[in-house]
Structures are given as C-alpha cells and as structure tokens.
C-alpha cells in the first residue's frame, strides 16, 4: 500500500504546471445563451418589423423606420373585433376554469374519495390529449347535437382544457398548507364556513390567481381547438392565421409587440413582488 502510494506525491508536481493554465470554459453557459438567442430571434424580428415602413403586402425586408402602424393599430375593424373576442373569451375562461378547477383542486388536495384515481386519469388525459383530437371531438358532438358553433362553444371548450391546469396548481398549494392554522381557527370557535372564508381561502388565493392566469394564457393563445369550434366567430390567432396567404399586415406585429410587452411587464412585477415578500 505504502509502496504504491509513496511515489505519487513526488510525481504530482511535475504534470501540475501543464494543467494549471487551462481555464475552465463554461460551455453550458454559452449553450444556454445560444438557445435563448434562438428562442428570442423571431420575437425580436416581430418587434423590429412592427416599425417597418413597408409599401407592399409583405413584411419581410427592412424598408425604413416608421411609427405609422402604431398610430394606425386599429385600422382593421375585424382584427380589433377578433382581439376583443379573444380577451373576453380568455377572461370568461379564467373565471369559470378558476372556479371549477379551484373546487376540484381543493377536493383532490384535502380529501380521499372514491373516484379519485378516475379523476386523476381524466385530468391527465385532458392535459395530454392532442388538441386536434379534442377539437374534432367537440365539433363532432356539437354537430350531432345540432348546436351552432360560435362564441359560447369556444368558451365552453377553453374552460374544458384549462380546468385541469388550475386544479393541479391549487392541489399543490392545498397539500402544502399547514393544517394547524385551520384547526386553530376551529378551536377559537370559527364555524367551518368562517374558517374556510377567513383562513383557507386567503391562503389559496395565490394559487387561484396563478391557475387563473394559466387559464387566461392558454385560452388567448389557443388556435387548433378554437378553429374547430369557432363557427363564424374570429379570435386573434384565427385572424392572424387567415392573413398568412395574403401577407400579414404590420398591425399584427404591433398587437403582438404590445401583448408581449404587457406580459413581460406583469412577469417582472410579479417576480419583484415575490422577491420582496421573501
């Protein structure tokens, strides 16, 4: 043992100087930044080209700076109507999916009940089922039942695919709650309803808001399911899709840029507030 390990310290200094100058290159960092650049390049393109002074229909080459499209953002009444539709549908989805998903998440986190496994399976399926299958199914059902597709069939479908996301968010929060807080409220004479209203609900509010926000984003972004169940109603993604053949007007870049800016602003405010709370 000693015989084999003895020469080691003596030999060690010799190769060491050769190795020391090699500085470690953090390849992971360069790779991650390269991916971030890749992810953001079409977004940057969209923003820059919302200022592009194009003459024709195709917004693909740079032709000079203008603020014209911002001043004229509402030039297409159909686009404005589609955007308003999208916002209304997303708000309604947020409310309904927040309510249904909140109750579902509360039950899943708090109780053990018959049918829990089946509930989890249906939720998992509704999250992972391909959109085209859900859209085709909904349309088949509406056709069979002679229900005309339009604004409300979009809302109903959006609530369906976002309710599970809300439920999962709320369930995680319910599981993390400290039961002794509710027990303390009950010990101090609060009824079950008062305890829920004054203790449980305020603690669940962040999760409900996060879940509602997920529902809002899923709804406003959805294209595939909406195509199937929209009838003659247009939404923002549907309207953009309709313009791809004839050339997308720069107003779409303007709207996209504004929505992006609001989203980023909200995310940053949220992050700063979370840091201050911590």
């Amino acid at each position: 043992m000693t015989a084999t390990s003895a020469p080691a310290p003596a030999a060690a200094p010799a190769p060491a100087p050769a190795r020391r100058p090699r500085r470690r290159v953090d390849w992971g960092k360069y790779f991650t930044w390269a991916v971030i650049v890749w992810l953001l390049s079409p977004i940057a393109f969209m923003i820059v080209f919302s200022f592009n002074d194009i003459k024709g229909r195709h917004n693909v080459t740079w032709q000079g700076f203008t603020l014209h499209w911002y001043a004229d953002a509402l030039a297409y009444p159909d686009l404005t109507r589609a955007l308003v539709n999208s916002l209304l549908i997303a708000l309604l989805t947020m409310v309904f999916a927040g309510l249904l998903g909140g109750l579902l998440g509360l039950a899943l986190g708090r109780y053990t009940f018959r049918g829990q496994g089946a509930t989890n399976l249906v939720m998992f399926s509704a999250i992972s089922a391909p959109e085209v299958v859900m859209g085709a199914g909904l349309l088949s059902m509406f056709l069979t039942m002679n229900i005309a597709t339009g604004f409300w069939t979009i809302v109903v479908s959006h609530v369906m695919f976002s309710v599970s996301f809300v439920a999962i968010t709320v369930r995680a929060r319910v599981l993390a709650l400290d039961p002794s807080l509710e027990e303390a409220a009950r010990d101090l004479g609060a009824s079950a309803w008062t305890t829920f209203r004054l203790v449980t609900l305020p603690m669940l509010t962040p999760a409900l808001m996060a879940g509602g926000l997920i529902a809002f984003v899923l709804s406003i972004d959805d294209y595939i399911i909406t195509t199937f169940v929209s009838g003659n109603t247009s939404t923002f993604p549907l309207w953009i899709w309709g313009t791809t053949r004839v050339g997308t007007p720069p107003q779409v870049n303007v709207m996209g840029t504004l929505i992006f800016a609001v989203g980023v602003l909200l995310a940053v405010v949220n992050a700063v507030m979370a840091r201050r709370r911590a």
């Binding site: 991916v35 977004i43 249904l100 039950a107 391909p130 999962i168 595939i224």
Partner: protein, 292 residues
C-alpha cells in the same frame, strides 16, 4: 341522532360536491366528445342526406389506406422534434439548475419568454424571418455566402425545428423541476468517490433525472406529432401532417365519418404508444411526473 349524523354526512359528501361541477364539465366536454368521434367514425351517408350509424368499419381501412403517409410523417416529425427538444432542453435545464445560482429564475423566464407571444404569431414570425429574400437568407445571398436559390422554408427540417422551437418549454420545465429538487451533494459524493465528471453524470444525475425526461417526452411528443400549424406555415404542401388532414376533412370537405376515422386512428396510435411507454416505465411514475 339525526343532528349528530348530519355533519358527518355533510363531511362525507363534501368532496363529491366540490368535484361535481368539474366532473360534469369534463364528462360533457371531454369524455362525451371523444366517444362521439368513435360513433361518428362508424357512420355512413353524405352531407345532404345526413349520416347514420351503420358500423361502417371500412372507414378505418379507407382512412389508413389514403392517409398512411401523413400519419407516418407526423409520427416521424414528432419523434425528431422530441429528440431535438431533449438535446437542446436537457443541457439548458441542467446548466440553469446546477450553475444558475441566484439567476435561476431569470434564466428560466428568458427561456419561457416566447410564450408571451401567440403560438401562431411566433410560427408566422419564423416564416417571415427565414423567407427566401428575408433578413437572414436575403443578407447571406447578398454578400455571396449562399447561392441565389438557397432556401430553408418548405422543407422537413424547417418543420422539425419549428416544432422543437414551439414545444421546447414542455421539455425544459419537467427536466428542470427534477434537477432543481435533486440534492446536489450526491454529485459531490460521486466525485469524492473518484467518479469523473462524465461518470458522475451518467451514473448519478442522469438516472435521477429520467422521470423528468419521461414526462417531457410525453408532453412534447403528443402535441408535436398532432400539430399542423408548423407543418402548414413552415413546411408547405409537401410536408402535410395528419392534423391538417383532419382539419380540412372536418371544416372544408365536411366528410365527417372519414375525418372522425382519421382522428380515431391518430388517437389510437398515440394511446398505444403512450401505454407501451408507460408500461415499460411504470404508469404511476409517468402520470405523477406529468401532472406535477
């Protein structure tokens, strides 16, 4: 007696009352529609005289016979995009979880930033960005780095990269969640026990992060293979995926039984794939990791 029993009864009914609205909603607008696809796929008739259920199993043969190429292409493109998502997303998730330090959340937010732009708009942006005479190709052709007839759009790689681009977060997030929770001291322990950096990764970190990768594979393979937005915008006429066929059979041709049969075939192929995948890995683990 009744006074004592009432609260217990209420307590026992509570979970069912809470889940009832969501159950009803999911049953009516998820389970029933899927069942309707099945019944519709076995109908025959035409748009003017109406369709009726005649157990027309021939619809399936017709669907597979006519559209096997699009179905196969969808699965291949979905698989390629999923592999690409692992190759791109895993190193990013690893680096952020292990080396991100105080900026972990900032890096994660940067990776999720594209989600603030509508999916359709992102894809259309790529199309304009990569147009034949656009910012990238036009410039490269201008300075003579590319031949005049070089193109990126309307090709299979454009579709696969578009899919990987749009669905990367679904791979990064579950992998990151697993790596972030991992006790980093186990890696130090491996190094202390004379494992090199490669061995420490392949024998310790990788096996422990596999549940996240499994979840990521499900969350990217299903939506990418059923997507048709990327294929239509970036792939042109020669790269049609099965989702587009379903969409036009329903909305343009109104050939409902045919459309429903293709949908059912797609669903069945994906379900068989997922079940064998989950069977091999344990259903519980896959479901748990996916719904987290």
């Amino acid at each position: 007696m009744t006074d004592e029993r009432r609260p217990r009864l209420a307590a026992r009914a509570a979970p069912y009352l809470l889940v009832a609205p969501a159950w009803l909603w999911l049953a009516l607008f998820f389970v029933v529609p899927i069942a309707t696809i099945l019944s519709m796929s076995l109908m025959s008739g035409n748009l003017y005289e109406g369709y009726s259920l005649t157990w027309e199993f021939g619809n399936y043969a017709a669907a597979v016979g006519t559209y096997w190429e699009q179905i196969g292409r969808s699965l291949v493109y979905g698989a390629c995009a999923t592999v690409l998502c692992i190759l791109i997303g895993y190193p990013c998730a690893y680096w952020i979880a292990f080396r991100g330090g105080a900026y972990k959340n900032a890096y994660l937010l940067l990776l999720l930033l594209p989600m603030f732009v509508s999916f359709v708009l992102r894809t259309i942006s790529w199309k304009a960005f990569l147009a034949d005479e656009g910012v990238i190709l036009g410039t490269l052709k201008g300075i003579g780095l590319l031949p005049e007839d070089a193109y990126v759009l309307n090709s299979a790689p454009a579709v696969v990269f578009g899919l990987a681009y749009n669905f990367l977060p679904f791979m990064v997030l579950p992998v990151y969640a697993v790596l972030e929770r991992m006790d980093h001291r186990v890696v130090e322990a491996a190094r202390d026990l004379y494992a090199g950096p490669v061995r420490a990764f392949t024998r310790v970190v990788l096996p422990m992060s596999l549940p996240g990768v499994f979840a990521g594979v499900i969350m990217t393979f299903i939506p990418t293979s059923a997507d048709y937005v990327n294929a239509t915008v970036l792939g042109g006429a020669d790269n049609t995926m099965v989702g587009k066929v379903i969409e036009s059979q329903y909305l343009v041709n109104n050939a409902y039984p045919m459309a429903a049969s293709i949908t059912f075939v797609l669903m069945a192929v994906l379900l068989v794939g997922i079940f064998s995948y989950a069977r091999a890995l344990g259903t519980e683990r896959v479901m748990e990791a996916s719904t987290r």
